[in-house]
């Protein structure tokens, strides 16, 4: 009898917000209650047209890690948004970038932010960086039924490991598989072009300012060849969203810092006047 009540108390004492929702309020989860939907193969799956978020790049620099995302969301051949933000602070020491179905991705981001803060408040201490990365993987796996219907979300996670004293980078697949990446990584429709650029212009020991310039150049190259990725918009003064994470925590690079970097890049490409 006593063992049973102890088991019940232990099972109820969760520090996870997602587990709490799954038990008490499953309708609030962006991906439902996590059960796989069994489809009749004779009935074709409905195709949902929803805005898609595109390219995210992340790279390690000396003293931290940096993540940048373009500002475009597309729906088929139409630009759904020029202002969307796809990189967010997850907590004080980590950032999250998302590619894929924008609506679900934004909700997953919000859920992940609450998940980390909830743990911190209940336990009185922060999750380890690996712990955060694993939680995100579990949440992406929860979205698998939606991904099978074409509503996939693929995040990129980066944070400062306060124990190791270095920036670290994690990528995911739709099944929630978590892979630690070295040096740099990209996700989204323009990721192949951005990754090509990063291979040439990234080098070890970049400063934060150099890392900002490298990330913007990689996004510029992605936008050059991928119609779903937006480049720096000098007409509307819209620049990518860039966050750096260091020993001091998360910092959003201000528009005032990004403007000159993006303008200088556009100017140098214009002077060269070449085919990219």
């Amino acid at each position: 009898m006593q063992d049973r009540s102890l088991d019940r108390i232990a099972a109820n004492a969760t520090s996870s917000f997602v587990e709490h929702l799954r038990r008490d309020r499953p309708e609030l989860l962006p991906f439902g209650d996590g059960g796989l939907v069994v489809q009749d193969s004779r009935i074709p799956l409905p195709v949902v047209q929803a805005p898609h978020a595109t390219t995210i790049v992340a790279l390690i620099f000396s003293g931290g890690v940096l993540m940048a995302g373009d500002r475009r969301a597309t729906m088929g051949n139409v630009i759904a948004s020029r202002h969307i933000e796809k990189v967010f602070p997850a907590d004080h020491y980590s950032v999250l970038g998302i590619a894929g179905t924008a609506g679900i991705a934004l909700d997953l981001t919000r859920l992940f932010q609450v998940e980390l803060e909830h743990y911190e408040k209940i336990e009185g201490t922060r999750l380890s960086l690996d712990g955060k990365a694993n939680r995100l993987g579990a949440m992406i796996r929860g979205n698998l039924p939606m991904a099978l219907q074409g509503l996939a979300v693929v995040p990129l996670f980066a944070g400062f490991d306060t124990v190791l004293g270095a920036g670290r980078l994690f990528s995911y697949d739709v099944t929630g598989g978590r892979y630690e990446e070295q040096e740099h990584h990209t996700v989204g429709s323009g990721s192949v072009f951005a990754r090509g650029a990063l291979k040439k212009i990234w080098r070890p020991g970049l400063s934060e300012a150099e890392a900002v310039a490298v990330s913007i150049e990689a996004l510029y190259d992605a936008a050059d060849d991928d119609s779903a990725t937006g480049g720096p918009d000098a007409v509307r003064q819209i620049w990518p969203v860039v966050y750096s994470v260091t020993h001091d925590g998360v910092r959003r690079i201000s528009e005032a810092e990004l403007g000159p970097v993006a303008s200088a890049l556009i100017a140098s490409r214009s002077i060269a006047s070449r085919e990219a």
């Binding site: 917000f17 008490d24 309020r25 859920l111 609450v114 009185g124």
Partner: protein, 234 residues
């Protein structure tokens, strides 16, 4: 068959209330003070890890006296309530008033329906953009809720501590003055001042630096910061 003795409802409630009051008075006091820079929460608590003060949400904090297991489960339930509400509506829609009313209901149900009432007293406080917008709610074991002004003192020799607060409190106090006043109140008359290790302190800051990427006003003070505040170096 055993016959149950008749106990009048008045007597039953009085016995329960006396029982809870005794449990709460056995503990040490907690002080919550509203001041110009925000709200200071100070408790006499020699343990550095078993907290009596906790963060609930962006601008809301919790303080408690009484039985640790009982107020700890209430604290966790409060965090769940606030996080679910903020996630399903918006962060702005989480208020101390809403949380206090949920606490009042659950304490009231436990007081009348359970075998034993909770031996706890809680403070739920929210820092506003101006001092007039600060909310300080006191919740007692029977589910009573009181909207307090300026400060709350709970547990232990609460009357003695409250007397010190009434004398020393003024609206223009800085955070360090508020923490010093609280520490002075918690020190028994004639005894040497309590060292920082014997105190637990946290603040809800009125102005939160949004550009630092946080909306959270709650900050726990470590021993070093507390010593600096107590000696007036800040």
């Amino acid at each position: 068959m055993t016959q149950q003795f008749y106990v009048s409802p008045e007597q039953l409630m009085k016995d329960r209330a006396d029982f809870a009051r005794k449990g709460i008075a056995r503990g040490r006091s907690v002080v919550v003070i509203s001041c110009a820079d925000g709200i200071a929460l100070v408790a006499e608590n020699p343990s550095p890890s078993l907290h009596k003060i906790g963060e609930i949400y962006d601008r809301i904090a919790f303080a408690a006296v009484g039985k640790y297991n009982e107020f700890e489960s209430l604290r966790q339930a409060g965090i769940r309530y606030a996080d679910v509400r903020g996630y399903s509506y918006d962060r702005e829609d989480v208020t101390a008033r809403g949380l206090a009313s949920v606490y009042a209901q659950s304490l009231g149900v436990v007081f009348t329906a359970e075998q034993k009432p909770f031996e706890v007293e809680l403070a739920v406080v929210e820092v506003g953009t101006t001092q007039a917008q600060d909310h300080l709610y006191r919740l007692t074991f029977d589910g009573s809720i009181a909207d307090e002004h300026h400060f709350i003192v709970m547990g232990g020799l609460a009357e003695n501590v409250a007397a010190v607060m009434t004398d020393g409190w003024n609206a223009g106090m800085t955070m360090s003055a508020a923490v010093r006043l609280a520490a002075a109140g918690l020190t028994p008359a004639g005894a040497p001042a309590l060292p920082a290790e014997a105190l637990e302190a946290a603040v809800l800051q009125r102005s939160v630096h949004r550009d630092a990427g946080t909306r959270r006003a709650f900050r726990r003070l470590d021993d070093g910061e507390l010593v600096a505040l107590l000696t007036g170096e800040v």
